[in-house]
């Protein structure tokens, strides 16, 4: 999910080349108070011209929080621009999401939307993290949860620790929420865009915790993520061989089969099938 300040026209144009899964047009923290209206108008106008979905890129808008005067205007603009998803910041209660959904419905009717706008929730406070499960299961529109690192840290009255240990509880909690509800879990941004090593280290760690995505603030970070996610040719070969062996075993009506000297059953195969699917996304194998 690539953050893109919504008041910068050239970035709208360039973002398509970086092939992020999702572009998140930011109307919140990246835009100055005096520029909020202009950014909102720019968003609506540019999305009339550029069809990101045609390039297999999902669109999202980070709106301003419910406690700001921009909340409803941002929602209206997002719906009229037909973005796929809204990222709601600083969510703390189910009521916050209900208020959002009510406005979404209002403007989806007004703009004759043919599909429901999805919701991505950002938790940035202790209360939000503690309520995350109840909040995230409150609507089928909710497709993912994310952690907002800076605000969360301020709310905790903590300080930044090596390897961001202060985020550990929140990270693990949100991964549990996401896995329980079978939705996406996105980690915090990595602010030092020049620190490739640090980014890679953090990303490998959060991937290990179970996150399946990270919010990025520089296009070069997308490549770094892809490099870690992309299966190696050896991993792909192994997965393809196991898939072939699995298909062969099915012909013989076997649930468990011997593969390279080890007994293998369905969950093991499923993991390898995921690798093949991922390889398809990276163009390593042709789609069937």
């Amino acid at each position: 999910m690539l953050f893109l300040p919504a008041d910068k026209p050239a970035l709208y144009r360039d973002a398509v080349f970086y092939k992020p899964d999702t572009i998140m047009f930011d109307l919140e923290d990246a835009v100055a108070f005096s520029e909020k209206d202009a950014a909102r108008m720019l968003l609506v106008e540019i999305l009339k011209d550029i069809d990101y979905n045609a390039s297999q890129i999902e669109t999202c808008v980070r709106i301003n929080g419910i406690d700001t005067p921009f909340f409803e205007k941002d929602i209206e603009a997002s719906v009229s621009a037909r973005v796929n998803m809204i990222r709601m910041p600083k969510v703390e209660t189910v009521a916050d999401v209900e208020a959002l959904i009510e406005l979404l419905k209002k403007y989806e009717t007004k703009y004759h939307s043919t599909c429901e706008t999805k919701i991505f929730l950002a938790f940035e406070s202790a209360l939000g993290i503690l309520n995350a499960y109840e909040i995230a299961k409150s609507s089928p529109r909710i497709v993912g949860v994310a952690l907002g690192g800076m605000d969360y840290l301020l709310d905790l009255k903590g300080s930044r620790l090596p390897n961001r240990q202060e985020l550990l509880y929140a990270r693990q909690h949100l991964v549990h929420v996401a896995r329980a509800l079978k939705i996406d879990a996105f980690d915090v941004i990595y602010a030092n865009t020049n620190d490739v090593e640090g980014f890679n280290e953090e990303f490998k760690f959060i991937k290990g915790l179970g996150f399946n995505g990270k919010s990025v603030i520089h296009p070069n970070q997308i490549n770094l993520i892809n490099k870690i996610y992309q299966p190696t040719p050896a991993e792909l070969d192994y997965a393809l061989e196991m898939k072939a062996a699995f298909e062969e075993s099915l012909k013989n009506n076997k649930g468990v089969f011997l593969f390279k000297g080890a007994m293998v059953d369905k969950p093991v195969v499923e993991k390898q099938l995921e690798i093949i699917e991922l390889a398809k996304e990276f163009g390593m194998v042709g789609a069937e």
């Binding site: 144009r13 080349f17 970086y18 550029i50 296009p219 490549n223 163009g283």
Partner: protein, 515 residues
């Protein structure tokens, strides 16, 4: 008015040159029809010291109204020599001169006032930028600017198409007889690749130096046998100005995408093996590509035989790390390269003629496996423009672009698909500098396109899993984002520049932009 057809008759009318202009024919290379054996060999008697002051050198050279003088541009934006010489010429009241420099940089903007006052009436160069470029594009120069590639310029000098009456060559170290180099002294610029050709073929050659050394000079790039006079001046140029203009490093994400694609292309071809050779351009993406390529070279234990062309710290680094055996240097692009050419035995200085003259027996560009080149725009027929901006104004340089594109086994052009609010892949480029039949691959941040003429490359890259797109596809995609620009309103009655192919035929004519 329609763009005029480039017939022989039309070109002759606008060229006003001492030789016949012929239109470019991609199926037939033009051959120089002049023997390079000098028709007059001077006998200067016994000369034991050539040091004179600038005005005396000019007077002794016999420089008169209507003649041609030349300079090199090794100092790029740091050049101080051209101004010094032109001021002296102005004081001597000599007019109607053709200034044939290897290129013009921002340091030469002052020439506009010399053109306005009639001291200069014609320009010939590889490049022209900034306010001088705008001035020429506005049709304010009496005769059209002749644009030649580096190899094309060397060819023109040797064939007599470009007859230099007096060459003024800056050198950071010279002895009293004119044995000169650019590697020693306070104003070092490194290789004197362009100057070597001028010094050899000009009727009269003046070395300008701010560092007169003991005879004989330790390093002789230009020998005394080609030099008539040596002039000592306070400062010939500022070495810091060398690394300017087109050369920059980048972490620009779009250029990073392009750089990774370039590395992928190179490593996917069967030419990527021990002993391969390469020339990198000076654009951000092509410099970044070196970083990726280096990783592959180390991983696969592949060593290159030589790097060619304009040299930067990147090639020097490859050499220092043992990843390339030799550097063949026609122009140093930064101070690391300047240091290296003096210190490293395998870092060789070569002349522009050795580098890329298509009419010598074998220029080095013909030994190249890969060349990576930047561009301003490319058209769907693979023609490349590196000279005129989207507004039609002259603001670039041909350099070694067409020379290396033709000579190298694989020529790779890299550019972003969109710049500003314009697509860089277009139906027809504003001006053709490198013809499409010599361009093999175009890389943008949106994808890679291979010239259909290179079926071998298409097969190799496809087999290696590199996904290819067509230029048409790229152009159409860009259109969905930025739409189609308004065409430039050219004034076809006012040609402002003639673009010569490296063989001397005419590739294109650049016209004045209306308004």
């Amino acid at each position: 008015m329609k763009k005029p057809e480039l017939t022989k008759e039309y070109l002759q009318k606008i060229g006003q040159l001492n030789y016949e202009l012929e239109p470019f024919n991609k199926n037939q290379a033009k051959t120089s029809n002049f023997s390079s054996i000098l028709t007059q060999l001077p006998n200067k008697g016994i000369v034991r010291d050539k040091v004179v002051d600038l005005k005396t050198a000019i007077k002794n050279s016999g420089l008169k109204n209507g003649m041609t003088i030349s300079f090199h541009h090794h100092f790029r934006n740091g050049d101080k020599t051209v101004k010094l010489v032109m001021e002296a010429i102005k004081e001597l009241k000599i007019k109607d001169l053709t200034v044939a420099s290897s290129s013009f940089t921002d340091a030469h903007n002052f020439l506009t006032s010399y053109i306005e006052s009639g001291i200069v009436t014609s320009l010939q160069a590889s490049g022209c930028r900034d306010t001088l470029g705008q001035f020429v594009s506005a049709g304010k120069c009496k005769k059209p600017l002749i644009i030649r590639s580096h190899g094309g310029r060397a060819r023109a000098i040797e064939s007599g198409d470009l007859k230099i009456d007096v060459a003024f060559m800056a050198a950071s170290a010279s002895d009293c007889m004119g044995n000169a180099n650019g590697m020693m002294g306070k104003s070092r610029c490194g290789s004197l690749g362009y100057a070597m050709v001028d010094a050899q073929y000009a009727k009269y050659t003046v070395i300008l130096t701010d560092n007169l050394v003991e005879f004989p000079n330790k390093v002789i790039s230009i020998p005394q046998t080609h030099v008539d006079a040596v002039v000592c001046v306070e400062e010939i140029g500022d070495p810091k100005g060398i690394m300017s203009g087109a050369i920059r490093l980048t972490t620009n994400p779009k250029e990073e995408i392009i750089a990774e694609s370039i590395a992928k292309i190179i490593t996917s071809t069967d030419l990527f093996k021990n002993g391969f050779s390469i020339q990198m351009g000076t654009g951000g993406a092509s410099l970044s590509a070196v970083k990726h390529l280096k990783k592959h070279m180390i991983e696969k234990q592949i060593k290159a035989s030589f790097c060619l062309g304009g040299i930067t710290s990147h090639q020097v680094e490859l050499y220092q790390q043992g990843l390339v055996t030799s550097i063949l240097d026609t122009q140093c692009f930064d101070l690391t390269a300047v240091e290296s050419i003096y210190e490293n035995d395998d870092h060789h200085e070569i002349s522009a003629s050795m580098y890329a003259n298509p009419h010598n027996k074998s220029p080095f560009v013909n030994k190249l496996d890969f060349v990576i080149l930047s561009a301003l725009e490319v058209d769907v027929d693979f023609n490349v423009n590196v000279m005129t901006g989207s507004d039609g104004v002259i603001r670039g340089a041909s350099g070694g672009h067409s020379d290396t594109a033709e000579g190298a086994k694989v020529s790779i052009i890299c550019l972003p698909l969109i710049r500003g609010r314009l697509s860089c892949v277009v139906d027809k480029v504003n001006s053709i500098i490198t013809p499409g039949n010599t361009v093999d691959i175009v890389v943008t941040d949106f994808g890679i396109a291979v010239n259909p003429l290179r079926k071998d490359l298409i097969e190799q890259l496809t087999t290696a899993g590199v996904k290819l797109k067509s230029l048409q596809e790229m152009k159409e995609f860009a259109k969905t984002i930025v739409g189609e620009p308004k065409p430039i309103d050219w004034d076809y009655s006012t040609p402002v520049a003639i673009v010569e192919a490296r063989d001397g035929s005419v590739l294109d004519v650049i016209y004045k932009v209306k308004g």
